[in-house]
């Protein structure tokens, strides 16, 4: 294990919190109850911290709903492997939230067209789209309203960034939002 390399990456990327492992409701609770409280104390910037965690929860719950490898436990509790990074980008002087998870090959097109469309809208149009989806059942499925990414875009201060990574026939989805 090359800890110095990891440490250097953490420092270069301004990482405030990182997690790699099973994303589950337990983890989202831990994040909201503990990490959020600690960051709120450290950063002394309540609104940024709120936005960071609104976005984090949406991205993590997407991982729990749309990953390739979803483990389902008693009580229909989901967990899926994924990565969450929260950091501060020194050049842009903004916080960022970055997640990564393995997705099904067939979801690639759906995700990119959805994000491209959301990114093409201004804030007002994003709000209108969100409201339209909330008043219909268009994208609603059994675990969500299908509107998490619109919510992320609405709160972000920059366009959503995303990328796909092919690795050993597996497809990984990276998404990054700034506040």
């Amino acid at each position: 294990m090359n800890i110095p390399v990891v440490r250097q990456v953490m420092e270069d990327e301004g990482i405030l919190f990182s997690f790699s492992g099973m994303i589950s409701q337990h983890f989202t609770e831990f994040l909201m109850d503990k990490v959020r409280v600690q960051l709120a104390e450290e950063l002394n910037d309540r609104n940024s911290v709120k936005s960071i965690f609104v976005i984090s929860i949406e991205l993590l719950q997407n991982i729990m709903s749309y990953s390739k490898d979803i483990h389902i436990k008693k009580g229909n509790r989901h967990s899926s492997p994924g990565i969450l990074l929260v950091g501060f980008d020194n050049n842009r002087e903004k916080y960022y939230i970055n997640t990564c998870n393995e997705i099904e090959l067939c979801d690639r097109e759906k995700l990119s067209s959805k994000i491209d469309y959301i990114n093409s809208l201004d804030k007002k149009e994003q709000k209108a789209l969100l409201r339209q989806k909330l008043r219909s059942a268009e994208d609603t499925h059994d675990r969500g309203a299908g509107v998490g990414l619109i919510e992320v875009a609405k709160i972000s201060t920059e366009k959503i960034e995303y990328a796909f990574e092919n690795s050993n026939k597996n497809l990984f989805f990276h998404i990054k939002a700034y506040v």
Partner: protein
């Protein structure tokens, strides 16, 4: 009709629906992974309440500090029910409490006001 009470957890708000007083109270954070399952009894109760109650007035106090997008969907559906109750001659008063520096929850309250203008929704900041 019995009252409905749901105990607060880290990710589910305290929910108290009082059919006699006609007062509902929803307070806390809402980000369960299975939102629709969690709120199903609440929606069923509210639907039954408005079709059977003789109360003219119903007051609903929301005091949320965080909600995820699927909870927001559930609340929009709940407001659809309230709108229907208003159309049927009931008087529904919503108090939307938010922490005074919480722009996100304040904005959701504003959106609800714009979207459901037949319902009286008061935005009430507190410290």
């Amino acid at each position: 009709m019995d009252n409905l009470t749901i105990k607060e957890t880290s990710y589910i708000p305290t929910i108290i629906l009082d059919s006699i007083k006609g007062v509902f109270s929803i307070k806390g954070k809402s980000y369960p992974e299975n939102t629709f399952e969690v709120y199903q009894p609440v929606q069923k109760w509210i639907k039954e309440y408005f079709s059977t109650t003789s109360n003219i007035n119903t007051i609903i106090n929301f005091e949320l500090t965080y909600l995820n997008s699927s909870s927001l969907k559930v609340y929009f559906d709940m407001f659809d029910m309230l709108e229907l109750a208003v159309e049927n001659g009931k008087f529904v008063e919503v108090n939307w409490f938010y922490e005074s520096d919480d722009d996100i929850i304040e904005e959701i309250g504003e959106e609800l006001q714009e979207e459901f203008h037949t319902i009286s929704i008061k935005l009430i900041p507190h410290n």
